[in-house]
């Protein structure tokens, strides 16, 4: 087998096939490497979503493993994209409490705001995760261009 073909086979085995199932054969080292890869993605996502991951606790590990099986990040910004995609799932999951979904929405917006290039993000919360003593509020993030600095404004109304 050529190096190119071997590398494609290993890449598919480590990241999962199109049906979302890992195909690591019976090699325990390859299976473990696949698990390590998911663990590494989870640690990186947790660094972008510290409060969401802490609040979900052990459920974060289980939920992220499910997410990792179906979502394959691409490019060198993949830890950030991975975190954004995972946070979107948490926000959309109505089986979770409103508090956790609020938290994920806040960190989802914050992570998106860390990307380069022009952006404008506005989000309203009933209970502001940035200030536990605050009621409803709106956060705005904006960056006018690639070389412009990130601005963040917190408004005490929604």
């Amino acid at each position: 087998m050529s190096l190119h073909a071997l590398q494609q086979q290993v890449a598919r085995a480590l990241t999962g096939q199109a049906d979302g199932q890992a195909d690591s054969g019976n090699d325990p080292g390859l299976i473990l490497a696949s698990e390590v890869l998911v663990a590494k993605r989870r640690v990186e996502a947790a660094s972008w979503l510290p409060r969401t991951s802490r609040t979900l606790g052990t459920d974060f590990t289980r939920r992220f493993a499910e997410h990792a099986r179906s979502y394959r990040p691409r490019g060198w910004n993949h830890p950030r994209d991975d975190a954004i995609a995972f946070a979107s799932l948490v926000v959309a999951d109505r089986s979770l409490t409103q508090m956790i979904r609020n938290l994920a929405a806040y960190e989802h917006a914050q992570t998106r705001a860390a990307a380069p290039g022009p952006l404008f993000i506005a989000h309203h919360w009933q209970h502001d995760p940035a200030r536990t003593d605050a009621g409803p509020g709106t956060h705005l993030w904006w960056r006018w261009g690639r070389r412009a600095r990130l601005c963040h404004l917190q408004l005490p109304w929604g």
Binding site: Q7, P116, L150
Partner: protein, 290 residues
């Protein structure tokens, strides 16, 4: 014939450049949560290493951070996603951005891994071992030659850790020797990766030192991982274990080492604990400085 002569001259230049690299001492892999402690103890940290991939598409805030770091420390870029071992070649956008970062920082050298991270349109997101074959050596040499046409700053290559191996024609020591010889790059020798691979593949790490091209070592990495299902995992999550310190001391005894970087990514302890490890490495390095 002229083209062959030009390549030979370029390779000789690289070897000369490696031997002329400066001695920097022991330092730390820069991680944003450590920023305050790093600046507080900046006089004990002559050198930092950054993950280049984090700054390939930087925001103005990240550029400020890089500028601040470069004002106070020698900053070595350490790339992860160039995928030098990919048979399908390099991502030229990635390479161009990496070249911009290196031009911005002007480091004495930069580093990448003897591994691949991309194949068939899939970004694996993790350093993946190459088969120990001549085809893999040739692929690395071809890709390194491509990189050198874009980035003139000396490149050093790091041995990778693995929980599995792919079918090969030689052992790891012979493979690394062939890669160093073929690419004419210096070696970023990750002591922890040697320890991890020796444990997982059942060979004697100390005996392997006899067969590795230690004369090409420019820089060391060291850290601690964890064990799972009878396999060592290079998770950068624990203090450097004693067997790694023993190997590190042995390498420093055998060859001059220009820099050693503690790579800690997970379960970050207080800065004082990391500095204790950096100081211990610095003491061992003083034995290696000619």
């Amino acid at each position: 014939m002229i083209a062959v002569a030009v390549i030979a001259v370029a390779a000789a230049d690289v070897v000369a450049a490696v031997t002329e690299l400066p001695f920097l001492g022991a330092g730390l892999g820069y991680r944003a949560p450590l920023r305050g402690g790093i600046f507080q103890h900046r006089h004990e940290l002559p050198v930092l290493e950054i993950i280049a991939d984090d700054y390939l598409d930087p925001t103005p805030e990240q550029l400020d951070e890089l500028t601040l770091l470069a004002e106070h420390f020698i900053v070595l870029p350490h790339a992860i996603g160039l995928s030098l071992g990919s048979a399908e070649g390099l991502d030229h956008v990635y390479l161009e951005r990496l070249a911009n970062l290196i031009a911005h920082l002007k480091p004495p050298w930069w580093s990448e891994h003897i591994s691949f991270t991309r194949a068939g349109g899939i970004d694996i997101g993790h350093l993946t071992p190459l088969p120990f074959t001549q085809e893999a050596v040739d692929t690395l040499a071809h890709n390194v030659a491509t990189v050198r046409r874009v980035i003139r700053t000396p490149l050093i290559l790091e041995n990778s850790a693995a929980t599995f191996t792919l079918p090969g024609e030689m052992d790891e020591a012979a493979f690394i020797t062939a890669v160093v010889s073929s690419t004419q790059c210096g070696l970023l020798f990750d002591i922890t990766n040697l320890h991890v691979n020796a444990c997982n593949q059942g060979y004697d790490a100390r005996a392997a030192l006899d067969r590795l091209p230690l004369e090409h070592v420019v820089q060391l990495h060291f850290t601690g991982g964890h064990r799972r299902i009878d396999l060592e995992i290079d998770s950068h999550s624990h203090p450097t274990p004693e067997p790694v310190w023993t190997l590190l001391a042995e390498v420093c005894r055998r060859t001059p080492v220009r820099a050693a970087i503690l790579e800690r990514d997970q379960r970050l302890p207080p800065i004082g604990e990391l500095l204790n490890e950096v100081r211990r490495a610095q003491q061992l390095m003083t034995m290696s400085t000619p």
